[in-house]
């Protein structure tokens, strides 16, 4: 297991304090975070959008309306700067824990959410990985139950970890399966 989670060890060490404040102390040690690649991917996306926006908006406003109007281009820059930090906080908030009978997923800084899915209720476990996610070595696990309102997904897992999680969840789901 250690080689599988090795990639995210830095992230977990950084969140040791965060994990300590979990609701149930006996589970505190078993929380896992998501890969650092997710942070890099989101920051890359943010840069790819905001830098060209500021670079184009500034000169265009300068030429069209005057130098004072060009200051308006600082607004998206400020939003991007705030986003840089917000992405890090959001990334650090994602964590999941495999307990004996259910999977816990916790996420969010401003809007917080905690989802508990009993293994026996899983209908389908899906692992997806888009081109961008593959570039950053990431995969996403989505759990489906019979209720469409169940919002249980974990973004930014290492592909091996996603694979392992899928295998384990499917196995546990079969062992504990129950009807509707």
């Amino acid at each position: 297991m250690s080689q599988l989670t090795g990639g995210s060890s830095g992230g977990e060490a950084g969140r040791a304090g965060h994990a300590g404040e979990a609701g149930r102390p006996e589970d505190a040690g078993r929380w896992r975070g998501v890969e650092r690649g997710l942070l890099r991917m989101r920051r890359t996306l943010l840069t790819a959008v905001s830098v060209p926006l500021v670079a184009v908006l500034g000169p265009v406003l300068w030429l069209a309306a005057g130098p004072w109007w060009a200051v308006l281009a600082a607004a998206p820059a400020a939003v991007a700067l705030w986003g840089w930090g917000a992405i890090a906080r959001n990334w650090a908030s994602w964590r999941y824990s495999e307990r004996d009978d259910d999977l816990l997923i916790e996420r969010g800084v401003v809007w917080r959410g905690l989802t508990v899915v009993p293994y026996g209720r899983m209908q389908l476990v899906e692992v997806t990985s888009g081109p961008l996610e593959r570039h950053f070595g990431l995969a996403r696990v989505q759990l489906h139950t019979a209720a469409a309102t169940t919002d249980a997904h974990i973004p930014g897992l290492a592909p091996e970890e996603a694979e392992r999680l899928r295998e384990r969840l499917t196995e546990l789901g079969e062992a504990r399966s129950a009807g509707l």
Partner: protein
């Protein structure tokens, strides 16, 4: 001809093509509505001869379409599924797994009652719309429903074909007087009636011309019709009966509907108490069944609390609404800063069998989810709630619904989430098997 080879299996009632004959007419109307100017010119240029020619062309075409689509439709019942074959050019076979059957309705619209046919609607998990067999002979429909239910229950296939209708025991019959009084005590009926009278009058007064007022009045009055008279027509003579197949619901004045909900299919129950009903101790009971369900999931349009309690004990064994209502705990006082006024309405409680949550001030809704039906548990907290140390607990159930216990103290909410996961697990262990006779 291979293209029109009759598919194997049983066929529908021969009256079915007449229903289909409406399709070309509807297409004509749609065309006329889309381009009224040209349609008007078309009508003006019509002479008797042309009209006859068009009819001579259209009627056989409609008849042929109706006949062929009836010809190409058939159904078979196998050990595990019901297969429905449809489609003239694009063949479609619907495989309906009987062990996933959630409810079967026999519908008898007014015209169909005159002719003596009925349609069979099937609710199955994983299909979008209700698959229906329309139309079957009335006796065939009842026999087929009995057979499908027997097979779904896990009976031997030879025996299933001739079990016939299982005996039913009547639990409640809603009286006409009670139904009328209950509808008259609904704020929504009077509200829509007042709006239907006031808004057109205002428009008439403001614009000074009658036509815009009439244009507004027609949809408003149709709303009044639907919420008042329409409800009376569908909820008339509401009978709840109990049989080994599950709960039977019979209702309707003009269109008779007959629904069956097999045991163990109910995912959640809602007990609604409109403001003016409360003094009389009346309630409305709604059910959530996976895959849509019957007529908006109504179990009882109106009943006294005691009656509702008795019926619910049959639908979900071990469920006691009075006990659930007694377990409700109000939210902390500081919740008034998050949801002013209405914060008093939110309550939450847990009993041995259900997760209970109440909301609403004037019209109270008590939602109950059996622990065994809980699919996942969620805790959410927005920034404003976090400032007041409050959080919401959501419980998702299999009928694509969520029951939320809002505005709980955050420590309590965390404890509820942790405990609920455990309760759902043990609740499931006691659950009944999918095939209820095995």
């Amino acid at each position: 001809m291979a293209l029109l080879q009759r598919p194997e299996g049983r066929r529908l009632h021969p009256v079915t093509p007449w229903r289909r004959a409406w399709a070309p007419m509807a297409a004509l109307f749609a065309f006329a509505a889309q381009d009224p100017e040209r349609a008007r010119q078309g009508v003006e240029s019509l002479t008797a001869g042309r009209l006859l020619a068009v009819l001579a062309l259209l009627l056989p075409a409609a008849a042929a379409y109706g006949f062929l689509s009836w010809w190409m439709t058939s159904y078979t019942v196998t050990e595990t599924e019901l297969r429905i074959r449809t489609g003239l050019l694009f063949r479609r076979v619907a495989h309906i797994r009987l062990d996933r059957l959630q409810a079967i309705d026999v519908g008898r619209p007014l015209l169909a009652r005159v002719v003596g046919v009925a349609k069979l609607k099937l609710d199955v998990v994983g299909t979008d719309k209700k698959d229906e067999l329309a139309f079957l002979g009335e006796r065939d429909a009842v026999a087929l429903r009995a057979e499908l239910l027997a097979r779904a229950a896990g009976m031997a296939p030879e025996a299933a074909a001739e079990v016939g209708e299982a005996p039913a025991r009547e639990l409640v019959r809603v009286g006409t007087r009670m139904l009328v009084v209950s509808l008259l005590l609904l704020g929504s009926v009077w509200g829509s009636l007042a709006a239907a009278l006031a808004v057109p009058l205002l428009i008439w007064w403001a614009s000074g011309s009658l036509w815009p007022a009439l244009a507004v009045a027609v949809p408003l009055l149709s709303g009044v019709w639907r919420s008042g008279v329409g409800r009376f027509l569908t909820e008339f003579d509401w009978v709840v009966a109990e049989s080994p197949d599950g709960i039977r619901l019979d209702h309707g004045l003009l269109d008779r509907a007959h629904a069956t909900v097999p045991p163990g299919r109910v995912q959640a129950v809602r007990i609604v108490e409109p403001w003016l009903w409360r003094r009389r101790g009346w309630v409305r009971v709604e059910l959530d069944v996976a895959a849509g369900g019957n007529e908006g999931g109504l179990l009882l349009p109106v009943a006294t609390r005691e009656t509702a309690r008795g019926v619910l004990a049959r639908v979900l064994p071990g469920l006691d609404p009075a006990e659930a209502a007694a377990s409700l705990v109000p939210v902390p006082r500081r919740a008034r800063w998050v949801v002013p006024l209405w914060w008093r309405g939110y309550r939450h409680g847990v009993t041995q069998t259900v997760f209970a949550s109440r909301k609403g001030l004037l019209c109270r809704t008590l939602s109950l989810v059996p622990h065994a039906k809980v699919q996942s548990v969620r805790l959410t907290q927005g920034p404003w709630e976090r400032a007041f140390k409050l959080a919401d607990v959501h419980v998702d159930h299999g009928a694509n619904g969520t029951v939320a216990a809002r505005l709980r103290a955050v420590e309590e909410a965390r404890a509820v989430v942790a405990a609920q996961a455990g309760r759902s697990r043990t609740g499931r262990r006691r659950a009944r098997p999918e095939r209820w006779l095995t």
